[in-house]
Symmetry: D2
């Protein structure tokens, strides 16, 4: 019997592949980050947003939530969940909140300042979130739309922390030793 041994690279790779297979590009998420943050930082670039998304997606906690959520969506697609869970997830039932619960575990990793952006994205449904929410397509995205919003909200938090760090370093003309790496 082979002993189990985790391979973190496989977990990261699977996360990226499954996001793509389910129709989500990293650039789609970066655009959500831009949508959230451009009002605050006029010089923000899509490259910065993309780098921030990548940083969030490199966390194991985030990868676990992404894989678990997509797995449940996929099984719902195939009608393989037991009743009444199949119905609740298939119909994105209003009183079913495990999708929000998993998503919040992503937001938590970059701290509480992301809660607001997560809720806002989930309500307004811009960009890729709107597309994932369109009913009638072949895929069920009950978990994925919340997960994508959570990744974007986390990346936005990460940018807020970085911008603060840069501003402080500028203020102190290079004398600051701010080394808060988030």
């Amino acid at each position: 019997m082979k002993k189990y041994s985790l391979d973190s690279r496989k977990v990261e790779q699977a996360t990226n592949e499954w996001l793509q297979k389910r129709g989500v590009e990293r650039s789609d998420i970066a655009e959500l980050v831009m949508y959230l943050q451009q009002g605050y930082y006029s010089d923000l670039t899509l490259e910065e947003c993309l780098a921030s998304v990548d940083k969030v997606l490199a966390k194991r906690e985030v990868q676990n939530a992404v894989l678990t959520g997509i797995q449940l969506d996929l099984l719902a697609d195939q009608g393989q969940l037991f009743s009444p869970l199949q119905d609740m997830i298939e119909n994105d039932e209003g009183l079913y909140g495990c999708d929000e619960v998993l998503a919040l575990s992503i937001v938590n990793v970059y701290g509480s300042i992301g809660f607001t952006n997560f809720g806002y994205l989930d309500k307004v449904k811009p960009g890729i979130i709107g597309k994932l929410n369109e009913k009638g397509g072949p895929m069920i995205h009950t978990f994925l739309d919340d997960i994508v919003g959570a990744i974007a909200a986390s990346a936005a938090s990460s940018i807020a922390h970085n911008k603060q760090k840069v501003a402080e370093e500028r203020n102190s003309q290079g004398t600051a030793s701010a080394d808060e790496s988030k």
Copy 2:
């Protein structure tokens, strides 16, 4: 020496009094609930919203968060917090998230379906939340605006649960024994 003995009525009373002293009426919160839910339930009345707010405010967990948050706002008004906490709360500093943390403990009591509404209110700032956020007044509301949003989001969740129960009872023509009391 007198032994400590909790009096729950005092906790509830203090919660209601402090909300009023800080400029928040229960009807203000009920209006936020109406704002959130009227698109979903055309027959929703302000009385139902108010009853739902009252139910949320009757929970000890919620009372604890309200009192703790208002206490911190009040001490910030009076300049009695130590540095740099005084500055962070006085200025509703973007990287300070303990206000969201306390608020989320309120939302959690009625379950994850409230996260979205909480984030949305915090971003859009309708009604009383907008008023609390106006800078320049004599009072600091760094905690209270999030707390009010959290109470409204919880009350909205509670209404969603109740409406479902009523709909099911109607469907089963009174034969259902749905007794989920939330």
Copy 3:
């Protein structure tokens, strides 16, 4: 095409049936509650503990988490999850925390005072939790052991609230109007 219509009774029924099918009786959970609380309330009975467990299990938020967790355990039993999620859940991998995340959504419903008991049960693994954790059986319980601990911790919180209410009513010789229904 039939319109989706939630039936709450079916959700509750499925929750109870699946707990049993996976080897967990309500009395097993009641014994965990007794284990947690008997040091604080010498007059606590197993009936009270059982009633408290029933109250927790009547909440939709809790039912959703139970069903979702058991579904993932069940699919892991059958080897039907995609790689590497299958391996992580099958081996109750140390860096995989979605089981704790789902469980915490149960604890949250009865408030933060349950966190401690949840963590303690998960570490000490008394009674049914220990049995669920025994490796080598035919069933995988990566999610279920945390869920059972969360239900017990929530029921313990509920008892703490009730005992306080009773104590206050006794103190006020029946004149109190404490109506905090949790």
Copy 4:
């Protein structure tokens, strides 16, 4: 009027100073980490534990929670909170859970695998947590004991992530590109 400008170094400095003033050395927290993790990693050193504690304490989210919690303890010492919050915090009242709520926001930063350790420490109260919990001293530590437990639990999570990374790099004889920086 002077414009507010955050200085992150001041926030970090204040965090470290206040922990010391309230009787908590970083080495005390490192010993809790050792207590939690030595059963899993026989080669774990106190230096590693200390480095892990330092990393946790460098996070803004953590600093915010530490300062807010200590501020409330301090005001309770001085009797400056309003009633009944003063009584609840002074007596570490069983139904008051805002201390756990703040502490959990620390644990969340290193992900859900820390919940268990947090709960366990809070129940068993080893080392410095036991000392902080001794009643009768001049200082109230209602918030601080939970916060110290949360920092230790987070540092333990961080070690678990690091040890996994090291193990994988060894397995792949240096060919792995595991760069998960947590």
